[in-house]
Symmetry: C2
Subunit: 200 residues, 2 copies
């Protein structure tokens, strides 16, 4: 027998879709009930408060994102892993038609000055993301594929920030160019040929 989706799972999935479009503040419990088609009692049975549903949304989205990272950070070499990750990120947002952006970036902007609970959860997702990129950069440095005069941790943090900024700008313009340019520049700067720099 196929596994049926539980009420709890449907509530989280519907809430995530709404939050991704509108943010946490603009998504009411009524909105979620209207989409999922359950009673207020059923929702409060699973989530005592709106905040509990919101945390469940972020936790589930975080876990799904980390799984996705493991799926796309693959390749015959560390460099190919990063290239495949970059290409997959662009493909994902192109498929979204640059609507919705990144749930974690959106939440960072919306909640950083408002809720420590939301911020801490999002910060932990960024930490895991950044650490995974750091491991690949370290391996690429060991292989001599990426310049090793800069710490892998800092480069990884910069990669994450640049992608978040690129998603923001592509979403703003509904155009893939900003994100594509960011990814192309990251590639070139991380492992491209170094042009001769004349000191003046």
């Amino acid at each position: 027998m196929p596994r049926t989706t539980s009420t709890r799972e449907r509530l989280i999935a519907d809430a995530e879709r709404l939050v991704h479009q509108r943010g946490f503040t603009a998504t009411s419990v009524q909105d979620v009930l209207a989409v999922t088609g359950v009673t207020k009692g059923a929702l409060y049975h699973h989530f005592p408060g709106k905040g509990d549903l919101e945390m469940a949304v972020l936790e589930q989205a975080g876990a799904a994102f980390i799984n996705w990272l493991d799926e796309v950070l693959v390749g015959a070499s560390p460099r190919e892993c990063l290239e495949h990750f970059f290409d997959s990120a662009l493909k994902h947002h192109r498929k979204q038609r640059f609507v919705g952006g990144c749930l974690f970036g959106n939440t960072a902007i919306e909640m950083s000055d408002v809720s420590r609970q939301h911020s801490d959860l999002v910060a932990s997702v960024f930490d895991i993301w950044s650490n995974k990129i750091k491991q690949v950069i370290l391996a690429a440095q060991t292989d001599g594929q990426i310049r090793d005069d800069m710490p892998a941790r800092g480069l990884a943090e910069m990669v994450v920030a640049t992608i978040e900024g690129g998603i923001m700008l592509s979403r703003l313009r509904k155009d893939e160019r900003p994100l594509r340019v960011c990814l192309d520049s990251l590639k070139a700067l991380l492992w491209g040929q170094c042009a001769p720099i004349q000191e003046k």
Copy 2:
């Protein structure tokens, strides 16, 4: 006689402060009236609708930001101009204690899927910012201070995206490290020594 601040100017300044903290959707006309201490009639005399006040906020903030860019993009060489700009950006957000973030990045995240009018205005601010950085990078490339095997336009767009991502992450953690690391990495990648890259 010192010039007195007009009601219109006070309304824009107070609305900007609120929007910077909470965003456009969560800032009501009532909130602005309460802070500025004027009547609804006075507000609607200057701004027929809430959207008109919001556009005035973005236009004024955009003009102030562009002026600030011209003030900080200064130095004895193109490279020093960029360094001074990077340092000034970090100093500005440190002074804000990483609260509020960047009004234009916040608005991009909040309004990109919601209002073409807000998005177009913010996109024009990012365009001007990016163009100013491009001019400095072009000059630095001509001087041989920045690698010239990558188009200045793309590098400038990446600089803007990386800074926006860095501001987002520093605001999330209430810690200057993410933005500082982004700026240090940009510096090193744009004009740092190139480590010998072994092709494997």
